[in-house]
């Protein structure tokens, strides 16, 4: 175990890189079900990195964070999303506003920007995994990009949740995690948010017979 701990910094770097890779893979994904699975995998990788961080630094609240991540992000939320997809009979194709290769090119540009922005900030931090700030910022921006360029409401939810993954990674890397109260509060917010969004989906579908968010543009004055 101690031998493994000697590599903990690199393992955390590896987990961060995998999270970035998964964020990219989610951008390139064509099917909704695989998208949700990739999100679950991203949650699991986040759990692993928090666990290693907890084992290395010995802070107990990181263990609780890790457990929460596993339960919520890797298990509960994907299960809820899968149920939604089944109940709403969502078609399996992800509908993108701009085609996928262009989206990925824009993604690379965002990654470059994120890395450059994070470089001076990460030099100030004192945690063992400070190179991760750039990766976390990049993951957040890629998730935001996914929210902007997709038409299906369910993919927007997945993008929002993935953004939260990135934020969590940033918090863990820079400051050894957030205070427990904040953590629990955010987790509860996310859970309630997903449930409310799920209810909304049924309402949207009843109103417009489709989950294409562009139909909501009809809700204006004239």
């Amino acid at each position: 175990m101690s031998g493994l701990m000697a590599y903990s910094g690199q393992l955390i770097n590896l987990c961060a890189a995998v999270i970035l890779l998964l964020a990219f893979a989610m951008l390139a994904q064509r099917r909704v079900i695989h998208l949700i699975d990739l999100f679950a995998l991203q949650g699991f990788t986040l759990f692993l990195s928090t666990l290693i961080m907890a084992l290395k630094t010995g802070q107990t609240h990181l263990f609780y964070s890790a457990g929460l991540t596993l339960g919520l992000k890797a298990l509960l939320l994907p299960w809820i999303l899968h149920r939604l997809v089944r109940k709403l009979h969502v078609k399996s194709e992800v509908e993108a506003l701009i085609n996928i290769p262009t989206t990925m090119l824009v993604g690379i540009v965002l990654v470059v920007i994120a890395f450059n922005v994070a470089l001076p900030i990460s030099n100030l931090s004192s945690s063992i995994a400070r190179g991760m700030l750039g990766i976390a910022l990049a993951a957040v921006m890629l998730a935001f990009l996914m929210m902007i360029t997709r038409r299906k409401a369910i993919t927007q939810v997945v993008g929002f949740l993935s953004m939260e993954n990135g934020l969590f990674l940033a918090a863990t890397s820079a400051t050894y995690g957030m205070p427990m109260v904040v953590e629990l509060g955010i987790a509860l917010d996310v859970l309630v948010g997903v449930i409310i969004l799920g209810v909304f989906f049924f309402q949207i579908r009843d109103q417009f017979d489709s989950l294409d968010i562009h139909h909501m543009e009809k809700l204006k004055e004239h």
Partner: protein, 669 residues
């Protein structure tokens, strides 16, 4: 009589070219004499120019003063290593092209052959003067002469409306560029009135004015070189001109613009700022991507080569940008690497692009067709042209062991070292730029395969192609000369770099020579053999030996029997030449993937058509975004101004009266 310096010999060569041209004018219709005597004479002069330039590399700069021009304003001329490189390029490539032209210009092309000879040799002489000029006056006179003579050459076949339009566009943009160059020179004198380059070198400009001068020079020389967005004349003018002229324009004239840019940014402006390099890099990258993308979708063989020239000029600009960045950060060793790549690419491109244009000239002469859709299978009727064009195509695709690969290799090595830059943004953006450069190189391969495959391979798409004849002896000589140049540049990089080093040392203060010569003449290792090495001769030898050995062993152990049958074609042997790919078909994947980049108009056949056809027209976005609006605004302003011309004489007299009153008021004692 004082002993003549090299620069004097070069001036004599320019005079010799002028003399050859005038001789041609004297007997304009005697095509025998002109094509068999005068053009080869011009080629000989070109060889001399090349030889003297080679001699001048590494020597101290020489100056001369020519007392032509205005009374107190003679031409100042200077021959240093930078000019010598481009003079070498001019001499060698022009020699090959002139020999080819001796066989190509056999009859009138719409104007008397003597006139063509005059314009051609004035063009050559003016390019020589551009390279030798040492003050702004001489430079601009030579530049304008170059533009005018090439305009007349482009519109040789002036009976066609499209060719006249292409010439007009060319002249227009050449003049816009010339204005920018003149303004840049003006800024660089910073008001002292001394327009000689020596004077400009002595001035130290504030960063603001130096940047203005650089940007003006980039725009002006970019307009002649074909950088975005002032590139639109290139795909029109180069195909419109006769093929030797296209070769000369693409191979040599574009490089004079590069020479001008190098002269301004490294010699006249002193130490550059780092963001100039970024601008040049960005412009070059966009140009290269644009050029290669459009090259892959063309249906006219000369337009394809013109767009490919745009791509190569873009790559050269990328190299210049990288050199500027390294130079600004005082990393001279790496700057020398990038600058060597720039010089190498200039010479290599001059060689293989001229070769390819001349091959298209032969194809045009043999078949009277320019469109790729009417060619095919010419390797059977024109073996000389086909095999020599293969060398040009492989060099154009940037494949080892030919010349195009070496400049790309050097450039990529330069990119690999850029993470040593002290600037964090540049650190990351430059490797991403390297990714774009390799993408350009790969797509250039696509365009070259399309060019060669559709013209020379496959079946003949028109029955008339069976009567195509191969190139004549003069033409073969010219093509072989340029092929030899491409091959030698590919397998002897160390020798070439040692020669080029004089100019690198002159501009940057440091060269690659010491590192490169450590390893012997067969290995190119610009930093050290551990970091990167390339031995083109061994490369070629291994492939050749494996090839020959494999063939010999197989024939020995088994047999070498062969028989001929109709093609297998999966059993569909009724397919004729129409079943193979057209030019549009070959590039359809590119059109589909990069659809937003093109402005396409497509006509699909429908079941109601009595004569169904498919048509696709690809146009340049820049034409509609930039040029047409500018033209419209210019038109509207002109219409407004014509309101001044009311027609009434009283109004005109009043204009004169008002001007007189104004002058009296202003010039009051």
């Amino acid at each position: 009589m004082p002993s003549l310096l090299t620069i004097d010999f070069l001036l004599i060569a320019a005079g010799a070219w002028l003399g050859v041209g005038l001789l041609g004018l004297a007997v304009p219709r005697n095509s025998r004499f002109i094509s068999s005597v005068l053009f080869p004479l011009g080629a000989l002069v070109g060889l001399f120019v090349g030889g003297y330039a080679l001699n001048a590399l590494g020597q101290a700069p020489q100056t001369a003063v020519l007392a032509i021009g205005l009374p107190n304003l003679p031409f100042h001329l200077r021959l240093d290593s930078l000019a010598a490189i481009f003079l070498l390029l001019l001499g060698i490539v022009a020699a090959g092209i002139s020999i080819y032209a001796a066989g190509y210009f056999r009859h009138d092309h719409g104007i008397p052959l003597g006139l063509l000879c005059l314009e051609y040799h004035i063009f050559l002489a003016s390019m020589l003067m551009v390279l030798l000029a040492d003050d702004a006056y001489a430079f601009m006179v030579a530049w304008e002469t170059m533009a005018l003579s090439s305009f007349f050459l482009v519109t040789t076949d002036h009976r066609h409306e499209a060719i006249r339009r292409a010439g007009y566009l060319y002249l227009l943009i050449a003049h816009v560029g010339a204005i920018a160059i003149l303004l840049s020179f003006g800024v660089m004198t910073s008001g002292s009135g001394d327009y000689s380059f020596a004077g400009m070198r002595a001035q130290t400009l504030s960063p603001f004015w130096a940047s203005i001068a650089f940007l003006l020079a980039l725009f002006g020389f970019g307009a002649k070189a074909g950088l975005l967005p002032v590139h639109v004349w290139l795909p029109e003018a180069h195909p419109a001109a006769p093929s030797p002229v296209s070769a000369l324009m693409s191979g040599v004239m574009l490089k004079t613009a590069i020479y001008g840019l190098l002269r301004v940014s490294f010699d006249l402006l002193g130490t550059p700022l780092w963001w100039w390099g970024v601008v040049a890099l960005a412009v070059g990258l966009v140009t290269a991507l644009f050029g290669v993308l459009y090259a892959t979708v063309q249906s006219d063989m000369k337009r394809l080569l013109a767009y490919s020239s745009i791509e190569n000029i873009g790559l050269i600009a990328v190299g210049i940008g990288l050199t500027l960045i390294f130079h600004a950060y005082k990393m001279e060793g790496l700057a020398a690497l990038a600058l060597t790549a720039v010089f190498y690419h200039c010479i290599a491109h001059a060689g293989f692009k001229s070769l390819l244009f001349l091959c298209t000239g032969s194809v045009l002469h043999a078949t009277k067709e320019r469109s790729l859709g009417k060619l095919g299978g010419l390797i059977h009727r024109m073996p000389w042209v086909a095999w020599l064009a293969l060398v040009g195509v492989l060099a154009g695709a940037g494949l080892p062991p030919l010349s195009g690969f070496i400049s790309e290799w050097l450039l990529l090595q330069g990119f690999l070292f850029s993470p040593g830059l002290p600037h964090p943004w540049l650190n990351m953006l430059v490797p991403v730029a390297a990714a774009a450069v390799v993408l350009v190189a790969a797509m250039a391969g696509f365009a070259m395969v399309k060019f060669y495959g559709i013209i020379f391979l496959g079946q003949m798409r028109e029955p008339a192609l069976k009567d195509a004849h191969d190139a004549g002896p003069w033409e073969r000589l010219g093509l072989a000369w340029l092929t030899m140049l491409t091959l030698l540049l590919g397998v002897l990089p160390v020798t070439v770099i040692l020669q080029l080093d004089a100019a690198t040392r002159q501009l940057l203060g440091k060269g690659l020579a010491e590192r490169v010569s450590e390893q012997g003449w067969w290995m190119l290792a610009p930093i050290s053999p551990d970091r990167a090495s390339y031995e083109p001769l061994v490369f070629l030898a291994v492939i050749a030996v494996s090839l020959l050995l494999g063939g010999w062993v197989v024939k020995r152990l088994y047999h070498g029997r062969l028989r001929r049958t109709p093609a297998w074609d999966c059993g569909y042997h009724f397919q004729g030449p129409r079943a193979q790919d057209t030019a549009e078909g070959f590039s359809q994947p590119i059109r589909r993937i990069f659809e937003p980049m093109f402005r396409m108009e497509r006509h699909f056949p429908s079941i109601r058509d009595s004569k169904p056809y498919f048509e696709v027209k690809i146009e340049d976005h820049f034409w509609h975004w930039l040029y047409l609006p500018v033209a419209r605004i210019a038109g509207r302003i002109s219409t407004l101004i014509t309101n001044l011309q009311g027609g009434r004489i009283a109004v005109y007299l009043m204009y004169s009266f008002l001007t007189l009153i104004l002058l009296i008021l202003v010039a009051r004692p």
